[in-house]
């Protein structure tokens, strides 16, 4: 089936089997391997991307369901030149080690802070509760997201 959607601002048209999930479509068809597959059943959050503003586990979404959608993956969170404030905060707070869960953490946190730039630590923990990390113990991740809030508040103001 032919499907049209946007990824990180660029329009894409792909020919896919109806059963192909969006994570495999991004990784295998579009070669965007920054989106990771951990559990493939919606438990780990590694495959989270932003679909029309909402954080979505794309191992549970078919590629054909993306018709007309606008998708942001980890590759679209920053320009080539600079890290985003959220990515910078992750680096500063040592909020990653092996880096496998990081794309899902970043996209989940980006979707949250875009909607709720004043989210408190409890809200951040709740939003990230579906993303598993086996390296950090989560505390540095929450600290990084807390610090990144300032940039999202500024972005709101014209």
């Amino acid at each position: 089936m032919r499907v049209n959607f946007r990824v990180n601002g660029d329009p894409v048209a792909v020919e896919v089997e109806p059963r192909l999930h969006l994570a495999d479509c991004l990784r295998e068809v579009l070669s965007l391997t920054g989106t990771h597959l951990g559990c493939e059943h919606g438990a780990c959050g590694a495959c989270t991307v932003i679909v029309d503003g909402a954080a979505v586990r794309v191992c549970l979404m078919l590629a054909v369901q993306a018709e007309g959608a606008s998708i942001i993956t980890v590759e679209g969170l920053s320009s080539d030149e600079a890290l985003s404030p959220l990515q910078t905060a992750f680096r500063k707070h040592h909020a990653l080690q092996c880096g496998f869960c990081t794309p899902g953490m970043l996209t989940t946190a980006h979707a949250l802070l875009t909607e709720e730039p004043d989210a408190d630590a409890d809200r951040i923990r709740s939003a990230l509760s579906g993303n598993l990390c086996r390296c950090t113990g989560y505390i540095p991740i929450v600290e990084a997201v807390l610090e990144a809030r300032a940039a999202y508040r500024k972005a709101d103001k014209p």
């Binding site: 965007l32 920054g34 990771h36 590759e75 969170l77 990515q87 992750f90 990653l96 880096g99 990081t102």
Partner: protein
């Protein structure tokens, strides 16, 4: 005079973070090679049973399924060695790489399918005809101890080894002690 070291005692930014944070890390699952095949594994759905029938012909008939490997296909290969404490006796209980006539745990490999994509390899798994004759499981040490069901019949027992540990003379130590608590 003690020299200073700019790495110890101060935060150091990791250079690998730059690629991980941008989604440019390269993990094993990201690798692609020309002609690369994907494997899927048919695993035992039961804890203990006899493998009475495996037929892969329908799987091999699927376009994009390249091979099905069973115990029969790999012939005689060594059993999986123990990495830790390979003590005398344990060799009788080593597990096969692929189950031949017996499965001994849920998830034990019975066949490996190679296909052009993960989905095609999984299609192959679904097309394998498999018959298992269920045997009583040995779910805990109590059942294991009774030896009513043997997981490795040729060993004649489920007990891999018997440990006896002795250090010193505890009775004499209590007898000769100046005082000993009456209850402990």
């Amino acid at each position: 005079m003690i020299g200073t070291n700019r790495y110890i005692g101060s935060p150091v930014e990791r250079i690998e973070d730059l690629r991980f944070l941008r989604g440019r890390g390269r993990f094993v699952g990201d690798l692609k090679r020309e002609g690369m095949l994907h494997a899927a594994i048919l695993r035992s759905p039961i804890a203990h049973g006899r493998v009475t029938f495996v037929d892969a012909s329908a799987a091999l008939a699927i376009t994009g399924v390249r091979a099905v490997i069973t115990a029969k296909d790999i012939g005689v290969v060594p059993r999986i060695p123990l990495r830790l404490l390979p003590l005398p006796g344990t060799e009788r209980f080593l597990q096969p790489v692929i189950a031949a006539d017996r499965v001994r745990y849920v998830g034990e490999p019975i066949a490996v399918v190679l296909g052009d994509s993960p989905a095609l390899a999984e299609d192959g798994i679904g097309a394998i005809a498999l018959d298992l004759e269920e045997l009583p499981p040995v779910p805990d040490r109590h059942a294991s101890e009774r030896d009513e069901t043997l997981l490795f019949e040729e060993a004649g027992t489920n007990a891999a080894m018997v440990f006896t540990g002795v250090k010193g003379d505890a009775d004499a130590a209590f007898r000769d002690a100046c005082s000993a608590p009456s209850t402990y």
